[in-house]
Amino acid sequence: MAEEIQLLKGNEAIAEAAIRCGADAYFGYPITPQSEIIEYLAQEDPYNKRTGMVVLQAESEVAAINMVYGAASTGKKAMTSSSSPGMSLKQEGISYLAGAELPCLIVNVARGGPGLGTIQPSQADYFQTVKGGGHGDYNMIVLAPYTVQEQYDFVKLGFDLAFKYSNPVMILSDGAIGQMMEKVTLSAQVPRETKDYGWNVLGKSENRERRYITSLYLQSEVMEQKNLKIQAKYAEIRKNEIRYEEIQTDDADYILVAYGISARIARKVIRLARAEGIKVGMLRPITLWPFPSARLKELAPKVQGMLTVEMSAGQMIEDVRLAVEGAVPVKHYGRMGGIIASPTEVFINFKKLFNIA
């Protein structure tokens, strides 16, 4: 069969991928710059026309994430999406999903903050996304797409990982990736299916014990055991699921560390630098949690410096510094408030920060 290629907006790619990978439900609340996800789904009407996938506009982000919690409890592939201020509202639900070990997919097409902020792209939700955000000790698997194709592919990957580990997965995108259009190679339609995973509530039959989806364990000894079990799972995820891409790191004297739209800019910075004879490479984390710390540590002694390029005041830089353990200077360059730095701007500042003439 010939490849099916379509020109899609990043947000539309999320929606189309959800339908095609056999998602059971989308619950969301509109917010710029990601409303095309629910609009596309409403227009496509998968419930009536394609797969029977439920699409529902909730009264709030709070309700939406809890609808996801309900659907996920029954073993359905459920997802929601939002942008930064809305994602703050979802944090309670995310903590419960992690605590109850429920699989689901959450998409954040991030915009500038804090507060109501702006509608332009930003990467200032890194801390919220990879360091918790909600209460308690928990982690989500966090995927950071840097093309519309990845935005599409990470929906299926996200659901696969969510169900493999019974854990919420987040796609941390940004307003630029969400809004830009690129060609996307589409995958074949996968039918929806619900399995008995041994944990999902389906109604108690005579021949089995009841199932109870909960994050409540009133005895502290039991709660600690639950935490240890979750932490063991996270250790497994750290072992198996770290993903990253390296560009021209073999001979690099400097390494840029960037994800999402910043990685697109960093790719151009490499060309600008090499044109001037400065050997620059890039490590692009694809999973922000688990973070490619070990690889960064390996690379550190081979280079003179690392620069994180982030659209924030510098958040991922903390993880890079932790990874390299002081072996190499790590600097940050980024713009805030929805401004995307140009490659030239990043390159000039890179040279300044590392005193390169």
């Binding site: 439900a25 659907a71 359905k76 309670e92 108690k204 009841r210």
Partner: protein, 263 residues
Amino acid sequence: MAVDIEQYKKDLLAQGAEVVFSKTKNLTDTPFSYCGGCGHGVAHRLIMEVIEEMGITADTIGVAPVGCAVIAYEFWNIDAVQAAHGRATAVATGIKRTNPEKFVFSYQGDGDLAAIGTAETVHTCNRGENIAIFFINNGIYGMTGGQMAPTSLIGMRSSTAPYGRQHDVHGYPLSLTNLLAELPGTYYVTRQAVETAAHVRTCKKAIRQAFENQKLNKGVSLVEIVTNCNSGWKMTAPQANKWMKENMFPQYPLGDIKVPKTE
């Protein structure tokens, strides 16, 4: 000498005794840990009995709240989901929309349904989700130690309104049930109690009706159950029931508020 209950039962049956009542299989053998005289135990039993009697255990998913009934998992021998405080009907919506063939109910207290979860409650009812909501109204926050509830009466003392609820400070008692009955999305709305045998019987019929309605796909069935919280009210159980009749029932009158139109 200890009596072997199981052997005793067998002996009685062997002597020709007739079984006239047995506990529903939908309750676990864990003794209720609710305060003596509290309505939660009766409400739990009635709901679990109805599910068994209708033969829908294998098709029923319950949603438990935050509040005293947060420990429902100790007692309900059915598949269920623990929801975050106030979010029970959003969770129930997620379950029902993706599993329309299942019977889905939420069980919520006054703080859960009528304070922190007001938005979820109103919008679930407004969408006419095809679920049952069981709303336990005792006018106080029992689990957390007797704080004011949205349904606390004017003048009623609680740990956060120690001089009594005053409307100009704390607002008025909120009868969300009556408001919800106004929404086109609710199909059946009734207010019940479980403090007398007669009320227990009527309440059980209402619970049954709420489950039967789910077969019709016509919207929310809401059963409010007014109960006492004797420990929260700082009374004995008999005093609390008397106080409930004299004070709670005038504010929250029992009976059907919205009944399905006969077609």
